[in-house]
């Protein structure tokens, strides 16, 4: 009994310790961000590996998610003779929730794991301590550009996901199932609000980008510098980042749409 309590206490203290270390690390990285304005080239290279290389998975998933939404929603809506509201249903689902959330989950799997593995291996092969020896701060040189690139590319990826998803819904709804094309777009435009829905979705994705990259770079930087440690850190990144995205999505949704959702 006492042993169980001790275990709970130890893991709670461990969790708090890690959270505290992650927060301090985040502040250190943020302090390195202003200096990046002079060295934007570093961010550019990371934008490539974090953003550009994630485009394919985001676009393909967006298209299939939109197509599946079209297929599934059509069946239910057609029962009520409301097949023409297919457009708003797909667009609202994508712009408010699925775009930011699914894009962030894919981003955690595609880019987050790569970031952790990269930084973890740099630590394991003592490249980070080598930099410190040369009086180069690895947090500023390695971590800060990756965080900035993650925050910048996430909203762009989420916007692509939503746009391609709406297109996928159009292909299935209008092309296959025979919904009227005019009704699809017109009802969508009547239902989706630029500020209330699209901008809030973008704000969400900025948050998600920050959380996912933060967890990824921290796990990499904090990894045990062995082969096993890096592999564990990579797994932890994907798990924690995905859970954090879902949890924050609930909170952000409650804050943003709490009063409009009836």
């Amino acid at each position: 009994m006492i042993g169980l309590l001790q275990n709970i206490g130890r893991s709670s203290i461990g969790f708090l310790e890690r959270t505290g270390r992650a927060t301090l690390f985040f502040l250190r990285v943020l302090a390195g961000v202003p200096a990046l304005m002079l060295q934007f080239r570093l961010v550019l290279a990371q934008l490539y590996s974090v953003g550009v290389l994630s485009v394919l998975v985001i676009v393909v998933s967006g298209l299939t998610v939109g197509m599946v939404l079209g297929l599934q929603m059509y069946n239910t809506l057609a029962k009520f003779g409301a097949a023409s509201s297919l457009g708003p249903v797909i667009a609202l689902a994508l712009v408010r929730e699925l775009g930011p959330v699914v894009a962030a989950l894919l981003f955690a799997g595609r880019a987050g794991s790569a970031l952790t593995a990269e930084i973890g291996l740099m630590k394991a092969t003592e490249q980070l301590s080598g930099m410190e020896m040369m009086a180069v701060d690895p947090v500023r040189r390695i971590v800060a550009p990756r965080l900035v690139a993650g925050i910048l590319s996430m909203p762009l990826l989420a916007a692509m996901f939503s746009a391609v998803g709406v297109l996928g819904g159009y292909l299935v709804g209008v092309g296959m199932l025979g919904v009227d094309a005019g009704a699809y777009w017109a009802q969508m435009q009547a239902a989706v609000d630029w500020r209330g829905d699209v901008i809030n979705g973008i704000i969400k994705s900025v948050f998600f980008g920050m959380i996912v990259t933060w967890i990824a770079v921290f796990e990499g930087y904090d990894a045990v510098p062995t082969t096993e440690g890096v592999s564990r850190a990579t797994t932890r990144t994907v798990v924690y980042a995905s859970l954090a995205v879902l949890l924050f999505d609930f909170m952000l949704t409650a804050l943003m749409f709490g009063d409009t959702l009836i």
Partner: protein, 158 residues
């Protein structure tokens, strides 16, 4: 390892594609650009029941969109809903006895205010109040009335 130039070009394409996606969301998916009627004039009207009308619902005349609902408040004096709408400045020739009704586009569509011009000589201007209004059709009330009239008809036959 790829050259810096290639990376820069790819990042440029990525950012451009992301911004293009935002534009698609703005112009094709959402109501960006048609939401706010700038520099229009305000009209108010009172309705017994507004049904599903909400702020930013369209205001149209003869089916053409001329403005939007800006606010809906409950008037505690008359127990009615006070609806404020903004009409675009180029539609400034509504006669002062114009009436306002709440319609539904299609059976299940969104609700909007339809303006029907009257025959008066002078026109509505900023801050004017529309006297003649017709509330939204609430389906439950209609069914209720229908049921009552049915049973009354049966009673009369007996």
């Amino acid at each position: 390892m790829m050259g810096t130039r290639t990376i820069e070009i790819m990042v440029g394409v990525f950012v451009a594609a992301g911004i293009a996606a935002l534009f698609v969301l703005a112009l094709k998916v959402s109501n960006f650009g048609q939401t706010s009627v700038r520099g229009g004039y305000q009209l108010t009207a009172k309705f017994e029941n507004i049904g599903g009308l909400r702020a930013q619902s369209p205001v149209s005349a003869a089916g053409v969109r001329v403005g939007q609902v800006t606010s809906i408040v409950y008037d505690q004096k008359d127990y009615e809903a006070l609806v404020t709408m903004t009409i675009a400045p180029n539609f400034n020739r509504f006669p002062s006895d114009t009436s306002a009704s709440i319609y539904t586009s299609g059976l299940l569509g969104e609700q909007y205010i339809g303006l029907e011009p009257g025959g008066a000589e002078d026109f509505l201007k900023n801050g004017d109040y529309i006297q003649l209004t017709q509330s939204a059709l609430v389906i439950e009330q209609l069914i209720g009335k229908f049921l009552v009239s049915m049973s009354e008809g049966k009673d009369a036959q007996r």
